[in-house]
Amino acid sequence: MGFDAETLSSATETLEAGALTSLVAATVAAPDDVITVRGLSKRYGAVEAVRGIDLDVHRGEIFGFLGPNGAGKSTTISVLCTLVGATGGSAVVGGYDVNSHPQQVRARIGLVFQEPSLDNQLTARENLYFHAMVYGVPRHERNRRIEAAFEMVELTDRADAQVITYSGGMKRRLEIARGVLHYPEVLFLDEPTIGLDPQTRAKVWEHLREVRQRTGTTIFMTTHYMEEAEWCDRIAIIDHGRIVSLGTPDQLKNQMGGDVVVVTTSDNARATRQIEEQFGVTALHDDGTLRIDVAAGAEFVPKLVKALDVEVRTVTVRRPSLDDVFLKLTGRAIRDDEVDQGAATRAMMARRWQGGRR
């Protein structure tokens, strides 16, 4: 956390205001956290989009933010990016409070929005030059950083083409390159891979890891895709405006306490009743199968088969997946095919509108 002159002067102001404790909490207590959120809430009229969340994002990690639609993901990211003001609580990003010092926060973050925000009439290089200028990248560094950015996202040979000739995936990569051009402390990405085909998504991820590797930039992203969540260092699951779980993907899966047993039977309803009676656990219906969470799957299966008087057709024992965690915590499945079609279509339309070839 840079303890530069401005931090000091704002520290002095705060001290004069007598708010010593909040300052200490924000700038001293967690020197390794690049984002500190305490009791953050945001209300739109009668709707409480975010209801008091606490969050620490460590420097240099890839932090995934998951949740069903309308859970408060985008609102939270908008508050952290200073695009909307918070109703309550505090959020410190890169050492500055988002409410009191939005301009300082903006200088220290990079943003990749759900919808593209490139100028199609300009060349890719001109887009990056514009960004370097408005973010105050020092003159002697500009060209070197722009070249390095192109190289990082493998667009060097297309650098001088107008963006209008870019495909959707190329635009995304260019936006990532642009987002880190000013060496932000945090790169925020709102659904960076929505509407992209699996291959392009993989490519985008490759570049995100590259960004982290090269610049140590912290990456904060929202996603709908569970396999992407697996690739994050830590994830938070948000539902109804509250964080319901936070940790590494493994920790979240371990919270499930053991294994998942998936069975199909000749009579699932009857089997459900019997499982409930005999073992005192609830079997969840999921797409024609029964899902049971147990401590030790291998030992449970023989007992289960013996206890049921319906025909057991298939039995699978596996470690819980993030899908299972998500289903258990939110009561909803988050599958790729259940991704908010509206948002995906809008994002795609926006790219099309910009003349992007896919």
Partner: protein, 297 residues
Amino acid sequence: MTTATAPRAVEQTVPATVARATHVRVPFLQAVYVIWLRDVTRFARDRARLIGSLAQPVLFLVVFGVGLSSALGGGRIFPPGLSYLQFMFPGVVSMTVLMASIFSAMSIVWDREFGFLREILVAPIDRSAVAVGKALGGATQAMIGGVIMLVFAPIIGVKLTVLGVLELIPLLFLFAFVLTSLGIAIASRMKSMQGFQVIMNFLMMPMLFLSGALFPLAGLPGWMTVLTRFNPVTYAVSPVRTVLFANGGISQAVLDRIGAEVTIGGYTLPLMLDVAIVAVIGVAVLGFAIRALQARD
């Protein structure tokens, strides 16, 4: 609710963080410059837009001007020795600037629709730099449009001098800057292209018709005289006409007869006062534009 007691999952291979920029302040003029540069680059690349913005004034000049000239008996209707076509020419140059200015302000709505406005608004730059950069960009484009229209001057018999053109350029630029600022002030509150166009049509046509661009300001009915004097465009058209004609060898007597200069209650406003009025309105409108851009979403 589970709490964050996770050990640090960050790979230790992450390099020592690169030198982060501790700077925050982007120089005001640098931001203005790059916003201006972007608009001008786009303009230079888009020939169709330039031609499109000139089409309507040319149509006015060639069809409306020639047609009305001959309907009025052709020749010298404004005594002595000035045709209607010649009379309206400075008005058409002003009209070019007016339309191109408003059109260029539309780029704000355009940018909002296509997302680039977010890139500008989340940057750590002052919103006033955004407004000034945009206004200068639009003004540059509109001024170029106005200067291009000057090629018609020799064709219709208005003499052009180097000095005249050099005097006109700053005038047209100021005029364009004010109108672009007005456009930006309105455009930044608009969410859709249609909305902006409706509002601008409501404003643009009356501003044009009541400015003395198409007919002399002298001898109008009382109510119209009042309206023209409240129209800021009036104070922009008048200097353009005066400078163009004075350098084109048209005598002061003719200028007086056709009411080229704005008069209020018998007092003839000197050219510099017109310019001052336009400039003051410009500052006020630019203030509105900045405030409109500062409003947080």
